[in-house]
């Protein structure tokens, strides 16, 4: 296996451990965060603070490392703000609110062997493929796939 493949595998595992430790694989914590009416659950705020705090700090440090100057410009590539961005985010938000699953926790829950997660992930893959087909027709200007 190539070094970058091993790096990606370790990163995926570490990401999964983070999701389990943070409690984000439990849909009730997510729905509780989105429910501003009653007993609001602020845990997702702590998760985002930890994740953004660490990632932003490390990126700032890496930006100074000469060895990594090659990938530095990738950080500055930003996604265009358009209708697809907002419409896509809104559609995702509705699905997120209905299930308490976003893609990461859904995939970890698939590993748990939870029946509901298996159904969700199958449907999610169908949605991803559908979006890909629409984009291929060139009707929707979606742009940057992995570069927000």
């Amino acid at each position: 296996m190539k070094g970058r493949t091993i790096g990606a595998l370790v990163a995926g595992a570490l990401f999964g451990v983070g999701l389990v430790v943070s409690g984000m694989t439990d849909p009730r914590n997510v729905i509780g965060f989105l429910d501003f009416s009653g007993h609001w659950n602020p845990r997702l705020v702590a998760v985002m603070a930890g994740a953004v705090g660490v990632h932003a700090s490390l990126l700032a440090l890496l930006g100074r490392a000469p060895r990594l100057r090659r990938i530095r410009p990738l950080l500055d590539r930003k996604r265009r703000i358009d209708g697809a961005l907002v419409a896509g985010a809104a559609i995702f938000g509705v699905g997120w609110g209905l299930s308490g699953y976003c893609p990461g926790p859904a995939l970890v829950s698939l590993g748990f062997g939870v029946r509901t997660a298996v159904a969700f992930v199958a449907a999610m893959i169908a949605g991803v493929v559908a979006a890909g087909l629409i984009r291929k027709r060139g009707r929707t200007p979606t742009g940057g796939c992995e570069m927000p």
């Binding site: 430790v21 702590a46 985002m48 603070a49 490390l58 907002v86 609110g97 698939l110 999610m124 927000p148």
Partner: protein, 144 residues
Amino acid sequence: MIDKAGMLMGFLGGALIGLAATLYFVATGRTAGVSGILGGALGRDREARGERIAFLAGLVGVGLLTAVVSSPAVANPYPLPLLVVAGVLVGFGTRLGGGCTSGHGVCGISRFSIASLIATATFIAAGAATVAIAHRLLASGVAP
């Protein structure tokens, strides 16, 4: 009453996610957005498919291992047909919008992307509105 232990675990888990996102970026030069990685793994670009599949295998593998050593079996409390609809919306929406909670929420905000900030505010607002409406319907007995 704030659940202090829960908040601490959330912060620690979040820090691990931030570390993982950095490792993925350094190893591959790509953003660690789960929906983008999934879309790329399913797409036609064969060049980077291996490392995307490796990331997804790590994610699912941790779920498998967790289920072996403990019983996390956190079943989703929502009815299956609803979850199928939600799954399609999540898959389609994240690809149309170019990111999910990790891609826009964690990685995008970490690099001060205004687009990601707008996307994150939008999906949180849409999610909150959906939960509020769903609760209203449940209370009035319209939905199951």
